[in-house]
């Protein structure tokens, strides 16, 4: 019970050259196909042991949802086989096919019957379902007046009313509010402890990291990597940055971060470098280079000098900025800025601010600046890194001449650190705590 075996699975949709082709295909006595198969999944092989929790990640359209639909039996595979043992509860997308005109109560019974439960079983569990969904009087209102959050609450409550052997969750939880999400995760964890197999699809990499012991990255309908979550998330993030201009999820972070946030070193218009041949790298809004200097690369490295795109909160990182100067400067400085997904600057500093100096540079000098951060204890989420170069710092972090800036040079993900204390906010201050009894009886 609870195992899933997927072997040589493939799913193709039929693509016909025109409307009539299907009719001709039906009528053709020789049975010649007139369509081209469009493969959305191919050669998928994996197995999940009972009680295992596997996260499935991939970009939009990679085939994750199709895979789950085949496992649940909603869609038939074109080739290959799926074997799943035991009762499956699936939360595919939103609402489980609730009927809008009927009340939450009626839909609960409907959905329960659809899962193969008897009316008696549903009636017995109804109190628990009602309590978990916690939508109050809305239970007797038609579902069409529900908010999406309420629909998800009810759908999750019904789907998980009875512990299934296999629980399949597809993005559904992204909708609810944070308190309900926590309640759901608590229930999922409880199921896990009781031996339920979990298949979890999410863009929230932090959830995959914390819930799953294994992850599968699906790319263009194939398994790109099947490994520990950390390794899979790293690969996924690496690909995400590669495709940054194509992927809506990554692009969103970039765009939001690039939105007009105040420049750390306000730049007078006249001092902006000459346009044209000097402007070599304009990556995103807000980036520029002058004839005098350009940022060659910005990297984020872990303690082992490996380039990383995701890290666990509190890890040690090195931000490495490489600058090539094309003209001599007396007192150039480098700086970096970390911004969150809303584009708010979380932190910024410069070598000037750190009372360091790059020294005099000549045309052709290449400088590499490493900023060591012992504990990057940011809250989980997506961040971007921006780097800049300027000349001649003056008081209060301003510079006489801005030379180059690489806006949102890279994006990285901070994952929750489950070894750390429980905390909330922007940055883990890692407080110490001392408790003394200073009065009263012992």
């Amino acid at each position: 019970m609870g195992h899933i075996l997927v072997s040589q699975l493939g799913k193709a949709y039929k693509r016909y050259p025109n409307r009539w082709a299907r009719l001709f295909e039906w009528l053709d006595p020789r049975g010649l196909p007139r369509h081209e198969p469009r493969w959305v999944l191919r050669n998928i092989d994996f197995s999940v042991s009972p009680g295992e929790a596997v996260g499935i990640i991939g970009r939009n359209g990679a085939g994750k949802s199709t895979l789950l639909k085949i496992i649940t039996g909603t869609t038939l595979p074109t080739e290959g086989r799926v074997a799943a043992g035991g009762q499956i509860a699936a939360l595919l997308e939103l609402g489980m096919g609730f009927h809008p005109d009927f009340t939450g109560r009626q839909n609960v019974f409907m959905a329960g019957r659809l899962m193969g439960h008897s009316s008696e079983t549903i009636a017995r569990e109804f109190g628990a379902i009602e309590a978990f969904a916690d939508i109050g009087d809305y239970l007797d209102q038609p579902v069409r007046v529900y908010s999406t959050g309420m629909q998800v609450r009810l759908a999750f409550s019904v789907a998980t009313a009875i512990r299934p052997d296999i629980l399949i969750v597809d993005e559904a939880l992204a909708v609810g509010d944070v308190f309900f999400q926590q309640k759901c995760f608590a229930r999922i964890r409880a199921f896990r402890e009781a031996g339920t197999t979990l298949l979890f699809v999410s863009h929230a990499l932090g959830s995959v990291y914390s819930l799953c012991e294994r992850a599968i990255l699906i790319e263009d309908g194939r398994i790109a990597l099947d490994d520990k979550p950390k390794a899979v998330i790293d690969l996924y993030n690496a690909r995400l940055v590669q495709h940054a201009n194509l992927d809506p999820a990554a692009l969103q972070v970039m765009e939001e971060a690039a939105a007009d946030t105040p420049h750390p070193n306000p730049l007078p218009q006249g001092e902006r470098g000459p346009e044209g041949e000097g402007c070599q790298r304009v990556q995103t809004v807000g980036s520029y280079a002058t004839a005098g200097a350009g940022i060659e690369s910005v990297q984020m490295l872990d303690s082992g000098q490996q380039i990383v795109d995701s890290l666990i909160s509190g890890s040690e990182v090195v931000i490495r900025v490489r600058i090539r100067f094309a003209a001599p400067y007396a007192d150039p400085h480098a700086g970096f800025q970390i911004r969150d997904s809303r584009g708010e600057a979380i932190f910024m500093t410069t070598t000037y601010g750190m009372r360091q100096s790059l020294g005099l540079v000549r045309a052709g000098t290449v400088v590499e600046v490493d900023f060591f951060i012992r504990h990057l204890a940011l809250a989980e989420g997506q961040y971007t890194l921006t780097a800049g170069v300027a000349n001649e710092g003056s008081h209060q972090g301003e510079f006489r001449e801005a030379l180059a800036r690489l806006q949102n040079a890279l994006a990285f993900t901070v994952l929750r650190n489950y070894d750390a204390i429980h905390w909330a906010g922007v940055y883990n201050l890692a407080p110490q705590c001392e408790i003394r009894r200073v009065g009263g009886g012992g």
């Binding site: 299907r22 086989r81 096919g97 659809l114």
Partner: protein, 275 residues
Amino acid sequence: MRPQFSPSHFVPVMLRSLWAYRGFIFANVGREFAQRYTHSLLGGLWAVLNPLVMILIYTLIFAGMMRASLAGHESNPFAYSIYLCAGLLPWNGFADIIGRLQGVFPQYANLLKKASFPRSCLPLIVVLSALTDFAIVFSLFLLFLLLIGQWPGWPLLALFPLLLIHVGFAVGLGLLTATMNVFFRDVGQFVGVALQFWFWFTPIVYSTAILSGETRSLLAWNPLYPLTQAYHGLLLGHAWPDWSSLLGVTVLTLLLLWLSARVFLRLVGEIVDEL
């Protein structure tokens, strides 16, 4: 491994899974019924009111015209009404089954795409739902016969085999076209048009007595003609049907059921992808 599409192989499996989902099926039949009347004040009354008005209109318009042609029933003031109902009510049931089946897969697209359940539940739900409406209206008609002293007596038992063939024919034809309708929406439109022709091609409103011999011979091509004839004989003449006349339509029904099951089973997987 290529799945088999032979109905003989699938039907026992299908029946077992349908039984397991009987709760779901009956709940949906009830829901379909409730859904139609959930926002109305008169509720289920509309299920009766609609055919009642239709019968009244036809009676008012055609009764005088047809009286003469219903030979042997001149003494019965309700003869034409009974004649009309005997043909019209089963026809409505027949057209209702076929019509609703056309829309069943698009109607339940949301569910088909999101949940896993035996797909054969869906046609069964709409067929049972159409039969519920038919049962209500037809019971009222039988009650009316009882009240006016026209109760047919024992031959009424023949109604069961007649309706069985009639429903089987509707299901076979409806499921076949409904499955094709998912891929070519023209089919559903065509069925709607064809049903209108078919209605007037069947002696429901008129009697065969007004037709010329040539036209009457055309009726031999209408598989519903022997059924309609049997209903008329049964409900108006209180006579047992001529069973031999029903042989053709019975064979045709079995053929359609087999064909529709075969097509449905072959295409059921593709239906979800197409919606």
